[in-house]
Symmetry: C2
Subunit: 334 residues, 2 copies
């Protein structure tokens, strides 16, 4: 068996590889009774004193490395910060492992480092360790891991949706993936689609500080909203009903996705969060989110249910099942 | 200016890149008053309660990925564990960011994961988070970051050698780099040189548990012993005198290095530690090290001095300065 693009595209093919080849070979996947790798959540935790250290990593091979709305530097910081933030953690520090191709412009590296610095200031995190290698790669690769901290027992899982919870998305979906696709393929659309890449920790902190009961949280990156919702539903042993008309998508993204035959629900985002919130808190949560620039298009898109498993979407022509995608339709998207 | 192989080879060229393009662009490089990136030590720390979380990362692009004595999986675990261990920390958890080429054999990945598992058991650490991407790379790349823990204020720096300290190396140098070179280039030497790749944390723990006063510690990886000693001396504001006859090198490594015209002092190791130890503790430290299989060839190779800066080696034909190498003579060594 050989590795294909699909093995790195989020979705079902990648999840199977992780379970069958990675997880199954590892005997030690958690520390001190914390949330371990076997949970396959956005991050894992290590209890220390009255805190839990939260730990995550993402590698970035996005092509092109500079794209509308961001670049690989900003993406590296935000991707890692967001996986910590959706655990309910305060992100503190990042590591930066650079793999550079021979002949790479040092001016480009300088530009990427400046972008990393700006994103770190936005998210209030520090780069405290790193590594630099030169290898046979077609472009720079950045792997960034991150450390955050949360009070013991307060980490928010992606597996703990409760029946009746409101499902909230913090804004328009599909922008990141389509921005990458359009800038890579040079399609001649008269569209101004930008990546949404942004650090979500401040916005999520606002919601938590207001005492909103968030039962589960996830960032819908590779595999898009479809993947995130299915994973949350499956792990929680519940179903999710969503309403197509309530899903925030810009007209531009919708129409270009239609032309290209891509389902925007399966397209990667890099500045969005999906929350399962106690139903009574949902409207107040929405208000708080909408006060933040990154949450102005937030919507309640549906509810968790015991009536069925999986994700079902009500459209104008009836209900349809929203499956876990095989992979993200756009390769090298992050 | 363009990136060259030297920018990823340890040594002077890489150090300049890190200072001029990476460090100079970052405004936040430490957290809560811990050891920050600006110290350019093996790892950084985040004080939390009465502990410090120790954090490090290394990317691995070694070629070939399977080599005498180990493979890229074992290397990834040991490299990260060792950077934590030389800070005096107990390594706890690793992250695993995989970059896979399209067409990569899944059987190879399986073999690498089994090797990672074995090394994790040896070092008593867990893999708790990871990420998987497929990209245009010539072979698998693994970036592994690690978290360890040390009592507050007890982290051991690479910059705190004291005058008169004994400089101890835990065993034969040069094996890793030469093993890589020979297996990559297919030289027809009648030699059996194996990488020394191994986790050092248990051995270092033994030394610390016996109350030996280690003032400074470093793993002499890329750039070899020459690089590690120079960095320790320079950061400590002292000089180091070493004695060529005391430096442990196997006959095979010495003779092949001579034939190839490579200075073994500049060749990477992946299972060795250099310690600066209080002079009175040196013999006892040596005894403890030699009881451990990874330390059986440990030697006191010299002493720290105020008389000069830099590293000076006494040889049978007189003294010579041992400079910081420009880079490791062997590219893609780890
Ligand atoms: N190579 C790997 N080794 C160990 N664990 C892995 C590896 N790849 C993925 N995982 C684990 O699988 C789960 C899913 O990984 P995934 O990368 O999809 O999560 P994510 O980072 O939240 O999403 P994205 O990478 O799209 O931002 C996580 O728990 C992650 O730690
Ligand atoms: N890309 C980078 N971004 C931030 N810091 C970096 C980067 N590359 C290296 N550093 C920092 O520079 C210092 C030296 O790095 P280096 O990789 O040589 O250390 P090491 O891991 O101990 O050695 P080796 O990689 O040979 O095992 C470390 O403090 C490291 O954190
Ligand atoms: Mg995530
Ligand atoms: Mg992620
Ligand atoms: Mg390194
Ligand atoms: Mg080191
Ligand atoms: Mg290292
Ligand atoms: Mg990931």
């Amino acid at each position: 068996m050989k590795i294909t693009r699909m093995h790195g595209a989020g979705g079902k093919v990648m999840q199977d590889l992780i379970k069958e080849i990675i997880l199954s070979n590892l005997e030690r996947t958690s520390v001190n009774g914390g949330i371990g790798l076997e949970c396959l959540d956005d991050a894992s935790t290590i209890p220390i004193g009255d805190k839990e250290i939260v730990f995550t990593v993402d590698g970035h091979t996005v092509k092109p490395i500079f794209f509308p709305g961001g670049d690989i530097g900003r993406l590296s910081v935000c991707g890692t910060v967001n996986d910590l933030a959706v655990m309910g953690a305060k992100p503190l520090a990042l590591s930066l492992s650079l793999i550079l191709p021979e002949g790479f412009d040092i001016e480009k590296l300088d530009k990427i480092m400046k972008s990393i610095n700006e994103a770190c200031k936005e998210a209030d995190v520090a780069v405290i360790t790193g590594d630099t290698k030169v290898s046979n790669v077609d472009d720079i690769i950045i792997s960034s891991s991150g450390i955050g901290v949360v009070d013991k027992g307060k980490a928010i899982r992606d597996s703990s949706i409760k029946e009746g919870d409101a499902i909230i998305v913090s804004g328009n979906i599909g922008d990141h993936g389509l921005a990458i696709l359009l800038s890579r393929e040079g399609f001649e659309f008269d569209a101004d689609i930008k990546s949404d890449v942004a650090p979500l920790n401040k916005m999520i902190e606002m919601v938590l500080n207001e005492g909103i009961e968030i039962h589960a949280m996830k960032d819908p990156t590779r595999g898009g909203l479809a993947d995130a919702l299915n994973e949350m539903a499956e792990k929680s042993g519940l179903g999710i009903d969503i309403y197509e008309e309530r899903i925030p998508i810009s007209e531009e993204v919708q129409s270009i996705a239609d032309i290209l035959g891509i389902d925007p629900l399966t397209v990667a985002n890099e500045g969005k969060v999906v929350m399962a919130v106690k139903r009574e808190d949902a409207e107040r949560c929405l208000e708080i989110l909408r006060k933040h620039p990154l949450g102005k298009n937030a919507e309640i898109i549906g509810y968790a249910t015991k009536e069925h498993k999986g994700v079902v979407m009500e459209t104008i022509v009836g209900k349809r099942v929203v499956d876990t995608p095989i992979g993200d339709p756009i390769p090298r998207v992050c």
